[in-house]
Subunit: 341 residues, 2 copies
């Protein structure tokens, strides 16, 4: 069997090569079963490759890309004027079948637009979605989608998100018959807006899914569901506001701890613990988000990601490539749609 | 000048009289400048009044109400079948001009429906909103609305929310020229759904407001804005998901601290600090939310509120009554609308 190949956008993110390359080197060293294509400026990448053994070096292709999509750049500009960017190239490699998955920490809007434009959606899927795993109290993981790929969602799109989330929970977390829930402002049947109420009806008709009804915002962090479905506007706000609260807790602890010698000592002890919790409960910063519903695998690492976080995103891409996530989603949506005929 | 009067729904909330009455007694004892009308079952209320002095007792009216709106009851049922409920009575007292404000910890849906039906909205305001103050890092407060009164908001409604939020930030927090922001998924002009983009245009035309543009979810907990405006669906999810994350942090700290003797000691020291932070950063649990845009003052305390939280909601109602919030909103919306003619 030929090796699976992961294409990495080395230039993307707030920090670029100094953060992405150490993560890439670690992935190359630790995953001999994968081939890697590093896309970006050759002059930035080449020096790093010297730390690899000859055998490791054989599993790496360097593809020089002249252009870089900037963090603040508009999606339209990235699409029209950056035809030889590293971000575009990694997606093209997936589209050409040369790579099995790609990873970028670059500008989310540009990545979404390029991936949608180049890869297209799977049959039966109207729009791609950004999905990530959220932590819950008992080390269970909840898949939350959409995190911001589409701010306007029809009920049909929400339903398709449920199907896709269900596939990821089953394939990636190994959950049998994952519980799919719709995010709403209350658990009663009368609540919610028109799209959510209609999506609820669609889910109730799909015997192929384990739909459990509505959940509320706090359930994103409980084990009441395995998949929580919402539109990209609400999902993005839920993610960002939780992140904001996590930051507030840390900053508040820091501030309160300055009060006196005793609280300063207390804080010295509690802060490392709290930081490790923060890393765990702050999925936006730490975990990669996958762009799903497309004909290829695209994993988005946070723009401000550390090397550890970028490495985690590479691992995520390798896992999805091994599973063949797009094919699994294609099969599931076909089954669900056939059932409804 | 005659005393201002606050009507209290003693029966509302998960716990009812055992929680609401101690808070009411405390308010009566500490605020000699107010009169209080306690609505609910006479047999439940009367015993508590014995702890009052004769002078204090003179500032209290007990109004027996036969019915109670249950926590799980539908708004329609509360409206149609509970004509002598304590929740309905406190709103009627405000409508009749007998009370200057009312407080209830009862079922949110029923309270919203009854208040909207009985009090009606102010001229120029289409829909009422639930608003609350969110904590930020430097003990600044951000007013967030709508927290769930309307899941479907037009851009005009969002604009009116901005006007109302601005009045509260000015009158209650004493912020001159409060910064009003629209919640969005990104700060760039191209982002957001149609309602948000159109609301952005309306705000930009209103010279009477200090509109600062878009903010993201994490800004709810920073001091980048004084008022954050969003629809009731998104606002509710933002509030609840932050609450969920706060709970997760606490539970995670508890769990991790069980690891060994050292971490158990550390947790013993850190937990009280973290709990005090949790109370501060968990506005849903702790602060009252005001239902604004109506012709009278209605303050909603959390259903699961403690006596302290219910007392806080009473203080909030007293403050709004002193200021005459509905009148202030009416004046502001008139000025803004006139300016646009």
């Amino acid at each position: 069997m030929s090796k699976l190949t992961i294409a990495l956008d080395i230039m993307g993110g707030d920090h670029g090569p100094p953060v992405t390359l150490p993560a890439a080197i670690k992935a190359i060293q630790q995953h001999a079963e994968f081939h890697f294509i590093l896309c970006g400026k050759e002059s930035a990448i080449a020096p790093y490759l010297q730390s690899l053994t000859t055998q490791q070096r054989e599993r790496v292709t360097l593809e020089h890309c002249e252009q870089v999509v900037e963090m603040g750049e508009s999606p339209t500009s990235a699409l029209r004027t950056k035809k030889s960017s590293s971000m575009r190239r990694v997606i093209e490699l997936v589209n050409e079948g040369v790579a099995d998955a790609c990873v970028s920490a670059g500008n989310t809007g540009a990545l979404l637009t390029l991936a949608f434009y180049i890869l297209k959606t799977l049959p039966g899927i109207d729009r791609p979605a950004l999905i990530s795993m959220m932590p819950t109290a008992d080390h269970h993981k909840v898949f939350l989608l959409d995190l911001g790929a589409n701010v306007n969602c029809t009920s049909e799109t929400l339903f398709q998100y449920g199907v896709m989330g269900s596939v990821l929970a089953e394939q990636i977390s190994g959950i049998e018959n994952p519980r799919v829930a719709l995010l709403n402002v209350g658990e009663e049947d009368i609540k919610g807006n028109a799209q959510v109420k209609h999506a609820d009806q669609l889910f109730k008709q799909a015997a192929e899914l384990n739909y459990i009804g509505y959940v509320e915002g706090d359930d994103i962090f409980t084990d009441n569901a395995d998949v929580v479905v919402t539109d990209g506007f609400t999902g993005n706000v839920a993610l960002k506001s939780s992140e904001g609260l996590a930051k507030l807790v840390i900053s508040e602890l820091r501030q309160q701890s300055q009060a006196n010698l005793f609280t300063r000592m207390m804080a010295k002890i509690a802060l490392p613990l709290l930081k490790s919790i923060y890393n765990r409960v702050n999925p936006d910063q730490y975990n990669g988000a996958s762009l799903i519903g497309l004909r290829g695998i695209v994993v988005k690492s946070h723009g401000n990601a550390s090397s550890d976080a970028f490495y985690y995103a590479i691992v995520e891409a390798m896992q999805e490539a091994r599973i063949g996530v797009p094919e699994k989603i294609k099969n599931k949506i076909e089954t669900v749609l056939l059932e409804q005929l």
